[in-house]
Protein backbone atom coordinates (compact mmCIF):
# COMPACT_ATOMS: atom_id res chain seq x y z
CA UNK A 1 0.00 0.00 0.00
CA UNK A 2 1.14 3.56 -0.72
CA UNK A 3 2.43 5.46 2.22
CA UNK A 4 -0.02 8.24 3.05
CA UNK A 5 1.42 11.49 4.28
CA UNK A 6 0.13 12.40 7.72
CA UNK A 7 -0.52 16.06 8.36
CA UNK A 8 -0.98 17.50 11.81
CA UNK A 9 -3.38 20.22 10.71
CA UNK A 10 -5.26 19.69 7.48
CA UNK A 11 -7.31 22.65 6.32
CA UNK A 12 -9.87 22.40 3.53
CA UNK A 13 -10.61 25.87 2.19
CA UNK A 14 -8.17 28.70 1.59
CA UNK A 15 -10.29 31.72 2.43
CA UNK A 16 -11.31 33.74 5.50
CA UNK A 17 -11.95 30.70 7.70
CA UNK A 18 -8.96 28.66 6.61
CA UNK A 19 -6.54 31.57 6.96
CA UNK A 20 -7.98 32.57 10.35
CA UNK A 21 -7.21 29.04 11.46
CA UNK A 22 -3.68 28.76 10.15
CA UNK A 23 -2.69 32.13 11.59
CA UNK A 24 -3.99 31.03 14.99
CA UNK A 25 -2.31 27.63 14.75
CA UNK A 26 1.02 29.30 14.03
CA UNK A 27 0.60 31.51 17.10
CA UNK A 28 0.29 28.42 19.24
CA UNK A 29 2.36 25.85 17.34
CA UNK A 30 5.28 27.04 15.24
CA UNK A 31 6.27 23.68 13.81
CA UNK A 32 3.31 21.30 13.46
CA UNK A 33 2.72 20.49 9.79
CA UNK A 34 -0.07 22.42 8.09
CA UNK A 35 -1.51 21.75 4.65
CA UNK A 36 -4.17 23.92 3.06
CA UNK A 37 -6.19 22.43 0.21
CA UNK A 38 -8.42 24.44 -2.11
CA UNK A 39 -10.07 23.74 -5.40
CA UNK A 40 -9.51 27.37 -6.35
CA UNK A 41 -6.13 27.91 -8.02
CA UNK A 42 -5.25 31.22 -6.33
CA UNK A 43 -3.44 32.20 -3.15
CA UNK A 44 -5.91 33.59 -0.63
CA UNK A 45 -7.80 36.58 -2.00
CA UNK A 46 -10.45 38.82 -0.57
CA UNK A 47 -13.71 37.40 -1.87
CA UNK A 48 -15.66 40.65 -1.41
CA UNK A 49 -13.12 42.33 -3.71
CA UNK A 50 -14.00 40.30 -6.79
CA UNK A 51 -16.41 43.15 -7.55
CA UNK A 52 -13.50 45.61 -7.65
CA UNK A 53 -11.73 43.32 -10.11
CA UNK A 54 -14.80 43.13 -12.32
CA UNK A 55 -15.25 46.90 -12.10
CA UNK A 56 -11.73 47.28 -13.44
CA UNK A 57 -10.53 48.97 -10.24
CA UNK A 58 -8.09 46.27 -9.15
CA UNK A 59 -5.93 43.66 -10.81
CA UNK A 60 -5.93 40.05 -9.66
CA UNK A 61 -2.75 40.63 -7.66
CA UNK A 62 -4.39 43.50 -5.85
CA UNK A 63 -7.03 41.17 -4.41
CA UNK A 64 -4.48 39.24 -2.34
CA UNK A 65 -5.52 39.03 1.29
CA UNK A 66 -2.03 38.22 2.52
CA UNK A 67 1.49 38.89 1.29
CA UNK A 68 2.69 36.71 -1.54
CA UNK A 69 5.18 34.85 0.68
CA UNK A 70 2.57 34.19 3.38
CA UNK A 71 2.57 30.41 3.02
CA UNK A 72 6.32 30.17 2.87
CA UNK A 73 6.80 32.47 5.85
CA UNK A 74 4.42 30.37 7.91
CA UNK A 75 5.70 27.04 6.70
CA UNK A 76 2.38 26.01 5.21
CA UNK A 77 2.11 23.47 2.44
CA UNK A 78 -0.48 24.31 -0.17
CA UNK A 79 -2.43 22.16 -2.59
CA UNK A 80 -4.41 24.50 -4.81
CA UNK A 81 -6.58 23.74 -7.79
CA UNK A 82 -7.36 20.34 -6.34
CA UNK A 83 -10.66 19.30 -4.82
CA UNK A 84 -11.20 17.06 -1.83
CA UNK A 85 -13.68 14.48 -3.00
CA UNK A 86 -14.14 12.29 0.02
CA UNK A 87 -13.62 12.14 3.78
CA UNK A 88 -12.84 8.82 5.32
CA UNK A 89 -13.67 9.25 8.98
CA UNK A 90 -12.61 5.73 9.96
CA UNK A 91 -9.00 6.26 8.98
CA UNK A 92 -8.78 10.08 9.10
CA UNK A 93 -7.97 10.29 5.41
CA UNK A 94 -9.11 12.61 2.64
CA UNK A 95 -9.12 11.74 -1.00
CA UNK A 96 -8.29 14.41 -3.56
CA UNK A 97 -9.54 14.68 -7.11
CA UNK A 98 -5.98 14.05 -8.29
CA UNK A 99 -6.06 10.66 -6.60
CA UNK A 100 -3.72 11.79 -3.82
CA UNK A 101 -4.57 10.84 -0.25
CA UNK A 102 -3.75 12.78 2.91
CA UNK A 103 -4.10 11.68 6.50
CA UNK A 104 -4.86 14.18 9.24
CA UNK A 105 -4.46 14.54 12.93
CA UNK A 106 -6.80 17.56 13.14
CA UNK A 107 -9.09 18.55 10.27
CA UNK A 108 -10.78 21.88 9.54
CA UNK A 109 -13.69 22.16 7.15
CA UNK A 110 -13.67 25.75 5.92
CA UNK A 111 -15.42 24.93 2.68
CA UNK A 112 -17.59 28.05 2.59
CA UNK A 113 -20.66 28.36 0.44
CA UNK A 114 -21.86 27.55 -3.03
CA UNK A 115 -24.11 29.83 -5.01
CA UNK A 116 -27.76 28.86 -5.03
CA UNK A 117 -28.89 28.13 -8.58
CA UNK A 118 -32.57 27.20 -8.82
CA UNK A 119 -33.34 24.39 -11.25
CA UNK A 120 -34.75 26.74 -13.88
CA UNK A 121 -34.75 26.13 -17.60
CA UNK A 122 -31.85 27.71 -19.44
CA UNK A 123 -29.47 27.95 -16.49
CA UNK A 124 -26.77 26.17 -18.47
CA UNK A 125 -26.90 28.60 -21.40
CA UNK A 126 -23.82 30.53 -22.46
CA UNK A 127 -23.77 33.95 -20.82
CA UNK A 128 -25.26 32.74 -17.53
CA UNK A 129 -22.99 33.26 -14.54
CA UNK A 130 -22.83 33.17 -10.77
CA UNK A 131 -20.72 35.65 -8.81
CA UNK A 132 -18.95 34.17 -5.82
CA UNK A 133 -15.43 33.36 -6.98
CA UNK A 134 -12.60 35.11 -8.72
CA UNK A 135 -13.05 32.61 -11.56
CA UNK A 136 -16.64 33.86 -11.91
CA UNK A 137 -15.45 37.46 -12.06
CA UNK A 138 -12.80 36.58 -14.65
CA UNK A 139 -15.38 34.75 -16.76
CA UNK A 140 -17.77 37.72 -16.67
CA UNK A 141 -14.91 40.08 -17.48
CA UNK A 142 -13.97 37.97 -20.52
CA UNK A 143 -17.57 37.83 -21.64
CA UNK A 144 -17.98 41.62 -21.43
CA UNK A 145 -14.84 42.04 -23.52
CA UNK A 146 -16.30 39.76 -26.17
CA UNK A 147 -19.79 41.21 -26.01
CA UNK A 148 -19.50 44.80 -24.90
CA UNK A 149 -23.07 45.54 -25.93
CA UNK A 150 -24.70 42.80 -23.91
CA UNK A 151 -27.23 43.94 -21.30
CA UNK A 152 -27.35 42.07 -18.03
CA UNK A 153 -30.15 40.70 -15.90
CA UNK A 154 -29.10 40.18 -12.30
CA UNK A 155 -31.32 37.71 -10.48
CA UNK A 156 -31.39 38.63 -6.81
CA UNK A 157 -31.09 42.03 -5.17
CA UNK A 158 -29.08 40.97 -2.15
CA UNK A 159 -25.53 41.90 -1.29
CA UNK A 160 -23.98 39.88 -4.11
CA UNK A 161 -26.54 41.10 -6.66
CA UNK A 162 -26.06 44.75 -5.79
CA UNK A 163 -22.32 44.27 -5.68
CA UNK A 164 -22.16 42.80 -9.19
CA UNK A 165 -24.57 45.48 -10.42
CA UNK A 166 -22.25 48.23 -9.26
CA UNK A 167 -19.33 46.59 -11.07
CA UNK A 168 -21.28 46.04 -14.28
CA UNK A 169 -22.46 49.65 -14.33
CA UNK A 170 -18.85 50.77 -13.99
CA UNK A 171 -18.16 48.66 -17.08
CA UNK A 172 -21.02 50.46 -18.86
CA UNK A 173 -23.17 47.36 -18.97
CA UNK A 174 -26.87 48.07 -18.67
CA UNK A 175 -28.39 46.16 -15.76
CA UNK A 176 -31.84 45.07 -14.63
CA UNK A 177 -32.09 43.61 -11.13
CA UNK A 178 -34.95 41.19 -10.50
CA UNK A 179 -35.74 40.88 -6.81
CA UNK A 180 -38.40 38.48 -5.58
CA UNK A 181 -39.19 40.37 -2.37
CA UNK A 182 -40.58 43.88 -2.21
CA UNK A 183 -37.22 45.58 -1.85
CA UNK A 184 -33.54 45.06 -2.51
CA UNK A 185 -31.07 44.20 0.28
CA UNK A 186 -34.07 43.15 2.36
CA UNK A 187 -32.09 40.79 4.59
CA UNK A 188 -29.53 43.33 5.76
CA UNK A 189 -31.33 46.67 5.51
CA UNK A 190 -34.60 48.11 6.79
CA UNK A 191 -37.18 49.85 4.60
CA UNK A 192 -35.60 53.24 4.93
CA UNK A 193 -32.03 52.31 4.05
CA UNK A 194 -33.02 49.82 1.41
CA UNK A 195 -34.99 52.57 -0.29
CA UNK A 196 -31.92 54.79 -0.16
CA UNK A 197 -29.97 52.07 -1.97
CA UNK A 198 -32.84 51.50 -4.38
CA UNK A 199 -32.77 55.14 -5.36
CA UNK A 200 -28.98 55.20 -5.66
CA UNK A 201 -28.97 52.11 -7.90
CA UNK A 202 -31.62 53.65 -10.13
CA UNK A 203 -29.86 57.00 -10.23
CA UNK A 204 -26.83 55.17 -11.58
CA UNK A 205 -28.91 53.86 -14.42
CA UNK A 206 -29.94 50.35 -13.43
CA UNK A 207 -33.53 49.10 -13.50
CA UNK A 208 -35.00 47.27 -10.55
CA UNK A 209 -38.01 44.99 -10.74
CA UNK A 210 -39.26 43.86 -7.34
CA UNK A 211 -41.89 41.33 -6.39
CA UNK A 212 -41.04 39.03 -9.28
CA UNK A 213 -38.77 36.15 -10.10
CA UNK A 214 -37.27 34.78 -13.25
CA UNK A 215 -39.02 31.58 -14.22
CA UNK A 216 -36.98 30.80 -17.30
CA UNK A 217 -33.78 31.83 -19.02
CA UNK A 218 -34.23 32.01 -22.78
CA UNK A 219 -31.47 30.84 -25.07
CA UNK A 220 -31.09 30.44 -28.81
CA UNK A 221 -30.14 27.35 -30.80
CA UNK A 222 -26.45 28.02 -30.13
CA UNK A 223 -27.20 27.82 -26.45
CA UNK A 224 -26.61 31.54 -25.90
CA UNK A 225 -28.81 33.54 -23.60
CA UNK A 226 -30.98 36.21 -25.20
CA UNK A 227 -33.40 37.00 -22.41
CA UNK A 228 -35.39 35.94 -19.38
CA UNK A 229 -39.08 35.31 -18.77
CA UNK A 230 -40.52 36.50 -15.47
CA UNK A 231 -43.14 34.74 -13.37
CA UNK A 232 -45.80 37.14 -14.74
CA UNK A 233 -44.89 36.26 -18.33
CA UNK A 234 -42.97 39.48 -19.01
CA UNK A 235 -39.91 39.00 -21.17
CA UNK A 236 -36.69 40.97 -20.76
CA UNK A 237 -34.05 40.68 -23.43
CA UNK A 238 -30.44 40.54 -22.33
CA UNK A 239 -27.09 39.15 -23.34
CA UNK A 240 -26.06 37.89 -19.95
CA UNK A 241 -27.62 36.70 -16.71
CA UNK A 242 -25.99 36.75 -13.29
CA UNK A 243 -27.62 34.46 -10.76
CA UNK A 244 -27.09 36.12 -7.40
CA UNK A 245 -29.73 34.57 -5.19
CA UNK A 246 -27.39 33.79 -2.36
CA UNK A 247 -25.10 31.07 -1.11
CA UNK A 248 -25.71 27.96 0.89
CA UNK A 249 -23.25 25.92 2.93
CA UNK A 250 -21.05 23.70 0.80
CA UNK A 251 -21.81 20.38 2.43
CA UNK A 252 -20.84 17.84 -0.24
CA UNK A 253 -18.06 16.37 1.88
CA UNK A 254 -20.07 15.89 5.05
CA UNK A 255 -23.42 14.75 3.74
CA UNK A 256 -23.84 11.07 4.57
CA UNK A 257 -21.08 11.09 7.16
CA UNK A 258 -21.31 11.03 10.96
CA UNK A 259 -20.67 14.78 11.07
CA UNK A 260 -23.85 16.41 12.28
CA UNK A 261 -25.46 18.86 9.90
CA UNK A 262 -28.45 21.13 10.38
CA UNK A 263 -28.58 23.89 7.78
CA UNK A 264 -24.83 24.08 8.09
CA UNK A 265 -22.32 21.98 9.97
CA UNK A 266 -23.14 21.95 13.69
CA UNK A 267 -20.25 23.01 15.91
CA UNK A 268 -19.69 23.49 19.65
CA UNK A 269 -18.16 26.55 21.27
CA UNK A 270 -14.70 25.36 20.27
CA UNK A 271 -15.89 25.14 16.66
CA UNK A 272 -15.56 21.38 16.85
CA UNK A 273 -18.06 19.26 14.94
CA UNK A 274 -19.86 16.25 16.37
CA UNK A 275 -16.81 14.19 15.39
CA UNK A 276 -13.84 14.86 17.70
CA UNK A 277 -10.78 16.25 15.95
CA UNK A 278 -12.82 17.67 13.10
CA UNK A 279 -13.64 21.38 13.17
CA UNK A 280 -15.69 23.66 10.94
CA UNK A 281 -16.06 27.43 10.52
CA UNK A 282 -17.22 30.14 8.17
CA UNK A 283 -20.06 30.04 5.71
CA UNK A 284 -20.36 26.26 5.99
CA UNK A 285 -20.83 26.21 9.77
CA UNK A 286 -23.58 27.14 12.20
CA UNK A 287 -21.72 29.08 14.84
CA UNK A 288 -23.03 30.88 17.92
CA UNK A 289 -25.02 34.02 17.22
CA UNK A 290 -25.13 36.14 20.36
CA UNK A 291 -28.27 38.00 19.30
CA UNK A 292 -30.35 34.89 18.82
CA UNK A 293 -28.60 32.99 21.59
CA UNK A 294 -28.26 29.97 19.35
CA UNK A 295 -26.11 28.60 16.56
CA UNK A 296 -26.97 29.94 13.12
CA UNK A 297 -25.53 30.58 9.70
CA UNK A 298 -23.96 34.04 9.62
CA UNK A 299 -22.18 34.03 6.27
CA UNK A 300 -19.95 37.09 6.55
CA UNK A 301 -16.20 37.44 6.29
CA UNK A 302 -15.39 38.62 9.86
CA UNK A 303 -17.25 35.71 11.43
CA UNK A 304 -15.53 33.23 9.13
CA UNK A 305 -12.13 34.55 10.15
CA UNK A 306 -12.98 34.59 13.85
CA UNK A 307 -14.50 31.11 13.72
CA UNK A 308 -11.40 29.92 11.91
CA UNK A 309 -9.19 31.56 14.50
CA UNK A 310 -11.10 29.88 17.32
CA UNK A 311 -10.94 26.51 15.58
CA UNK A 312 -7.21 26.92 14.97
CA UNK A 313 -6.42 27.73 18.59
CA UNK A 314 -8.39 24.71 19.76
CA UNK A 315 -6.83 22.45 17.14
CA UNK A 316 -3.44 23.50 18.46
CA UNK A 317 -4.48 22.62 21.99
CA UNK A 318 -5.28 26.10 23.29
CA UNK A 319 -8.84 25.78 24.60
CA UNK A 320 -10.69 28.88 23.41
CA UNK A 321 -14.39 29.67 23.14
CA UNK A 322 -15.84 31.28 20.03
CA UNK A 323 -16.80 34.78 21.16
CA UNK A 324 -19.94 34.66 19.04
CA UNK A 325 -20.94 36.63 16.01
CA UNK A 326 -24.03 37.91 14.32
CA UNK A 327 -24.84 39.11 10.85
CA UNK A 328 -22.83 42.27 10.32
CA UNK A 329 -22.57 44.24 7.14
CA UNK A 330 -20.82 47.36 6.00
CA UNK A 331 -21.82 48.72 2.66
CA UNK A 332 -20.57 51.49 0.51
CA UNK A 333 -22.46 50.73 -2.65
CA UNK A 334 -23.04 53.70 -4.90
CA UNK A 335 -21.33 55.97 -2.40
CA UNK A 336 -23.80 55.43 0.43
CA UNK A 337 -22.22 54.27 3.66
CA UNK A 338 -24.35 51.97 5.78
CA UNK A 339 -23.44 49.58 8.56
CA UNK A 340 -25.93 47.14 10.01
CA UNK A 341 -25.86 44.33 12.53
CA UNK A 342 -28.29 41.88 14.09
CA UNK A 343 -32.05 42.32 13.68
CA UNK A 344 -32.63 45.15 11.25
CA UNK A 345 -36.28 45.84 12.07
CA UNK A 346 -38.40 45.10 15.11
CA UNK A 347 -39.74 41.59 14.42
CA UNK A 348 -42.78 42.12 16.71
CA UNK A 349 -44.24 44.39 19.38
CA UNK A 350 -41.93 43.14 22.09
CA UNK A 351 -39.14 45.04 20.34
CA UNK A 352 -38.62 48.77 20.36
CA UNK A 353 -37.04 50.93 17.68
CA UNK A 354 -35.08 54.08 18.47
CA UNK A 355 -34.44 56.33 15.53
CA UNK A 356 -32.48 59.54 15.02
CA UNK A 357 -32.61 61.22 11.67
CA UNK A 358 -31.28 64.50 10.35
CA UNK A 359 -29.62 65.69 7.17
CA UNK A 360 -28.04 62.57 5.68
CA UNK A 361 -27.66 60.83 9.01
CA UNK A 362 -29.87 57.92 9.97
CA UNK A 363 -29.33 55.90 13.13
CA UNK A 364 -31.59 53.16 14.31
CA UNK A 365 -31.37 50.76 17.21
CA UNK A 366 -33.63 47.79 17.77
CA UNK A 367 -34.06 46.82 21.42
CA UNK A 368 -35.68 44.04 23.37
CA UNK A 369 -35.81 43.82 27.15
CA UNK A 370 -33.16 46.53 27.45
CA UNK A 371 -30.71 44.79 25.13
CA UNK A 372 -29.70 46.08 21.72
CA UNK A 373 -30.54 43.36 19.19
CA UNK A 374 -29.85 45.31 16.04
CA UNK A 375 -28.49 48.52 14.60
CA UNK A 376 -28.34 50.43 11.36
CA UNK A 377 -26.19 53.53 10.91
CA UNK A 378 -26.07 55.44 7.70
CA UNK A 379 -24.38 58.66 6.64
CA UNK A 380 -22.34 58.97 9.81
CA UNK A 381 -20.89 55.64 10.87
CA UNK A 382 -17.98 56.73 13.08
CA UNK A 383 -17.97 55.05 16.50
CA UNK A 384 -20.62 52.49 15.51
CA UNK A 385 -18.39 49.87 17.13
CA UNK A 386 -19.14 51.28 20.56
CA UNK A 387 -22.71 50.10 20.11
CA UNK A 388 -21.92 46.88 18.29
CA UNK A 389 -19.89 45.82 21.31
CA UNK A 390 -22.82 46.57 23.62
CA UNK A 391 -24.80 44.13 21.50
CA UNK A 392 -22.02 41.60 21.70
CA UNK A 393 -21.48 41.96 25.44
CA UNK A 394 -25.24 41.90 26.07
CA UNK A 395 -25.16 45.12 28.10
CA UNK A 396 -28.52 46.37 29.34
CA UNK A 397 -28.83 49.88 27.88
CA UNK A 398 -32.29 50.79 29.14
CA UNK A 399 -31.08 53.67 31.34
CA UNK A 400 -28.94 55.35 28.66
CA UNK A 401 -30.38 54.12 25.38
CA UNK A 402 -31.35 57.55 24.10
CA UNK A 403 -27.78 58.81 24.29
CA UNK A 404 -26.68 56.01 21.95
CA UNK A 405 -28.30 57.63 18.93
CA UNK A 406 -27.19 61.15 19.72
CA UNK A 407 -24.51 62.83 17.61
CA UNK A 408 -21.99 62.96 20.43
CA UNK A 409 -22.35 59.31 21.36
CA UNK A 410 -19.09 58.00 22.75
CA UNK A 411 -17.61 55.88 25.48
CA UNK A 412 -18.89 58.36 28.06
CA UNK A 413 -22.43 57.57 26.96
CA UNK A 414 -21.90 54.22 28.63
CA UNK A 415 -21.93 53.43 32.36
CA UNK A 416 -18.58 53.97 34.04
CA UNK A 417 -17.84 50.30 34.63
CA UNK A 418 -18.38 49.60 30.95
CA UNK A 419 -16.14 52.35 29.59
CA UNK A 420 -13.43 51.65 32.14
CA UNK A 421 -13.46 48.05 31.10
CA UNK A 422 -13.18 48.98 27.45
CA UNK A 423 -10.20 51.21 28.10
CA UNK A 424 -8.42 48.61 30.19
CA UNK A 425 -5.20 47.51 28.57
CA UNK A 426 -1.91 45.83 29.23
CA UNK A 427 -0.13 47.76 32.00
CA UNK A 428 3.20 49.43 31.34
CA UNK A 429 6.28 47.54 32.47
CA UNK A 430 8.15 50.32 34.23
CA UNK A 431 5.49 52.92 34.69
CA UNK A 432 5.98 56.22 32.91
CA UNK A 433 8.90 56.41 30.56
CA UNK A 434 8.06 59.33 28.40
CA UNK A 435 5.87 62.30 28.94
CA UNK A 436 6.95 65.62 27.64
CA UNK A 437 5.66 68.82 29.11
Amino acid sequence: MDKIEKIKYLIIGNSAGGIGAVEAIREADKTGTITVVSDEPFPVYSRPLISDFLAGKRTIDQLNYRAIDFYEQNDIKTIFGNRVTELNLDDNIVLLESGQKLAWDKLLLATGGTPIVPPMEGREAGGVFTFTTLADAIAIDDYIRQKPDANAVVIGGGLIGVSVTESLLKRRVKVTIIEMKERILNVILDNKTSYMEHKAVKDCGADIITGHTVSKINSNTHGEVYGVTLDNGDVISCGMVIIAIGVRPRLELVNNTDIKVNRGIAVDKHMQTSVPGIYACGDVAEAFDFIYGENRLTPVWPNAYLGGRTAGLNMAGKATDYPGGTNINSMKYFGIYIVSAGTISAPDKSYQELIAEHNDVYKKLILKDGLVTGMIFSGEVDRAGIIYNLMKDRVNVESFKQSLISDDMGLLSLPETVWRNRLATVPPVNGVDCAVS
Binding site: G385, Y388, A424, V426, P428, C434, A435
Partner: protein, 160 residues
Protein backbone atom coordinates in the same frame (compact mmCIF):
# COMPACT_ATOMS: atom_id res chain seq x y z
CA UNK B 1 5.67 47.28 22.49
CA UNK B 2 5.17 50.96 23.19
CA UNK B 3 1.73 52.17 24.11
CA UNK B 4 0.14 55.50 24.81
CA UNK B 5 -1.43 55.57 28.26
CA UNK B 6 -3.94 58.04 29.59
CA UNK B 7 -4.14 59.59 33.01
CA UNK B 8 -7.76 60.52 33.18
CA UNK B 9 -7.44 62.22 36.56
CA UNK B 10 -5.32 65.05 35.13
CA UNK B 11 -6.95 65.38 31.71
CA UNK B 12 -8.87 68.65 31.45
CA UNK B 13 -10.32 67.88 28.04
CA UNK B 14 -8.57 70.79 26.33
CA UNK B 15 -8.41 68.96 23.02
CA UNK B 16 -4.81 69.84 22.19
CA UNK B 17 -4.07 66.17 21.57
CA UNK B 18 -6.60 66.29 18.75
CA UNK B 19 -5.18 69.51 17.36
CA UNK B 20 -1.58 68.26 17.33
CA UNK B 21 -2.65 64.93 15.92
CA UNK B 22 -4.35 66.78 13.07
CA UNK B 23 -1.30 68.90 12.51
CA UNK B 24 1.01 65.91 12.52
CA UNK B 25 -1.09 64.29 9.81
CA UNK B 26 -1.54 67.41 7.71
CA UNK B 27 0.33 68.06 4.50
CA UNK B 28 1.81 71.23 5.98
CA UNK B 29 3.23 71.47 9.46
CA UNK B 30 1.98 74.93 10.23
CA UNK B 31 -1.12 75.26 12.39
CA UNK B 32 -2.69 78.17 10.58
CA UNK B 33 -2.03 76.76 7.13
CA UNK B 34 -3.15 73.26 8.09
CA UNK B 35 -6.37 74.44 9.70
CA UNK B 36 -7.35 77.44 7.65
CA UNK B 37 -5.75 77.45 4.24
CA UNK B 38 -5.06 74.09 2.69
CA UNK B 39 -8.23 72.27 1.61
CA UNK B 40 -10.16 70.15 4.08
CA UNK B 41 -8.90 69.96 7.64
CA UNK B 42 -6.81 66.93 8.44
CA UNK B 43 -8.60 64.38 10.61
CA UNK B 44 -7.56 63.64 14.18
CA UNK B 45 -6.88 60.06 15.12
CA UNK B 46 -7.35 60.83 18.79
CA UNK B 47 -10.69 61.87 20.26
CA UNK B 48 -11.36 63.71 23.48
CA UNK B 49 -14.41 62.68 25.39
CA UNK B 50 -15.74 64.83 28.18
CA UNK B 51 -18.75 64.70 30.43
CA UNK B 52 -19.07 66.62 33.67
CA UNK B 53 -15.58 66.66 35.13
CA UNK B 54 -14.51 63.40 33.56
CA UNK B 55 -12.47 63.64 30.40
CA UNK B 56 -9.94 61.57 28.54
CA UNK B 57 -8.35 61.15 25.18
CA UNK B 58 -9.11 57.97 23.20
CA UNK B 59 -7.17 56.37 20.36
CA UNK B 60 -6.37 52.89 19.11
CA UNK B 61 -4.76 50.90 21.90
CA UNK B 62 -3.54 48.06 19.67
CA UNK B 63 -5.71 45.45 21.36
CA UNK B 64 -4.36 42.05 22.30
CA UNK B 65 -7.25 40.52 20.36
CA UNK B 66 -7.65 43.08 17.58
CA UNK B 67 -11.16 42.69 16.23
CA UNK B 68 -10.37 45.09 13.39
CA UNK B 69 -7.62 42.79 12.13
CA UNK B 70 -9.92 39.78 12.26
CA UNK B 71 -12.79 41.62 10.57
CA UNK B 72 -10.88 43.40 7.80
CA UNK B 73 -12.23 42.16 4.48
CA UNK B 74 -9.17 42.91 2.41
CA UNK B 75 -6.22 42.16 4.66
CA UNK B 76 -5.37 45.86 4.89
CA UNK B 77 -5.31 45.84 8.69
CA UNK B 78 -2.55 43.76 10.21
CA UNK B 79 -0.30 43.76 13.23
CA UNK B 80 3.29 44.73 12.62
CA UNK B 81 5.25 41.89 14.19
CA UNK B 82 8.22 44.11 14.97
CA UNK B 83 6.38 46.89 16.80
CA UNK B 84 3.12 45.21 17.79
CA UNK B 85 1.26 48.12 16.20
CA UNK B 86 -1.92 47.61 14.24
CA UNK B 87 -1.54 49.30 10.88
CA UNK B 88 -3.77 50.07 7.91
CA UNK B 89 -2.30 49.48 4.48
CA UNK B 90 -3.76 52.31 2.44
CA UNK B 91 -3.28 50.53 -0.85
CA UNK B 92 -5.34 47.59 0.32
CA UNK B 93 -7.96 49.48 2.33
CA UNK B 94 -11.25 49.99 0.48
CA UNK B 95 -12.77 52.14 3.22
CA UNK B 96 -15.62 49.69 3.82
CA UNK B 97 -15.93 50.51 7.53
CA UNK B 98 -16.15 46.89 8.69
CA UNK B 99 -13.30 47.54 11.15
CA UNK B 100 -15.13 50.55 12.52
CA UNK B 101 -18.19 48.46 13.22
CA UNK B 102 -16.28 46.05 15.45
CA UNK B 103 -13.89 48.44 17.26
CA UNK B 104 -14.95 48.62 20.93
CA UNK B 105 -13.40 52.08 21.36
CA UNK B 106 -14.66 53.66 18.19
CA UNK B 107 -11.00 54.41 17.53
CA UNK B 108 -11.01 53.92 13.76
CA UNK B 109 -12.26 56.76 11.65
CA UNK B 110 -13.54 57.09 8.17
CA UNK B 111 -11.65 59.44 5.89
CA UNK B 112 -14.49 60.18 3.52
CA UNK B 113 -12.38 62.26 1.20
CA UNK B 114 -9.84 59.54 0.49
CA UNK B 115 -12.28 56.67 1.09
CA UNK B 116 -9.92 55.03 3.58
CA UNK B 117 -9.96 54.08 7.22
CA UNK B 118 -7.56 55.92 9.51
CA UNK B 119 -6.34 55.36 13.04
CA UNK B 120 -3.53 56.27 15.39
CA UNK B 121 -0.24 55.32 13.76
CA UNK B 122 1.94 56.42 16.69
CA UNK B 123 3.00 59.30 14.45
CA UNK B 124 4.72 56.76 12.27
CA UNK B 125 7.58 55.69 14.39
CA UNK B 126 8.16 58.92 16.33
CA UNK B 127 9.72 58.30 19.71
CA UNK B 128 7.07 60.52 21.29
CA UNK B 129 3.80 60.92 19.41
CA UNK B 130 2.50 64.46 18.91
CA UNK B 131 -0.45 64.07 21.26
CA UNK B 132 1.83 62.98 24.11
CA UNK B 133 4.44 65.62 23.36
CA UNK B 134 1.88 68.41 23.37
CA UNK B 135 -0.34 67.43 26.27
CA UNK B 136 -0.02 70.39 28.69
CA UNK B 137 -0.96 68.32 31.71
CA UNK B 138 0.97 65.12 31.12
CA UNK B 139 -2.36 63.35 30.94
CA UNK B 140 -0.83 61.24 28.18
CA UNK B 141 2.38 59.31 28.38
CA UNK B 142 3.92 56.43 26.56
CA UNK B 143 5.59 53.40 27.99
CA UNK B 144 6.79 49.96 27.11
CA UNK B 145 4.49 47.07 27.87
CA UNK B 146 4.87 43.38 27.35
CA UNK B 147 4.28 42.79 23.71
CA UNK B 148 1.57 40.71 22.20
CA UNK B 149 2.07 36.96 22.17
CA UNK B 150 4.19 37.17 25.27
CA UNK B 151 2.52 36.23 28.51
CA UNK B 152 0.62 39.25 29.71
CA UNK B 153 -1.85 39.55 32.57
CA UNK B 154 -5.33 38.87 31.24
CA UNK B 155 -6.80 41.96 32.86
CA UNK B 156 -4.88 45.04 33.79
CA UNK B 157 -5.03 45.99 37.45
CA UNK B 158 -6.11 49.51 36.60
CA UNK B 159 -7.72 50.72 33.41
CA UNK B 160 -5.15 53.41 32.89
Amino acid sequence: MRKIYIKEEVCIGCGLCEVYCQLQHASVHDLIKAFKKRGPRPLARARVEAKGNISFSVRCRNCEEPQCVYACLTGAITRDIETGMITVDEEKCIGCCTCMLVCPLGAIKQDKEHKKMIKCDFCQGEETPACVANCPNEALYCAECDSVNKEVPAKSPSPF
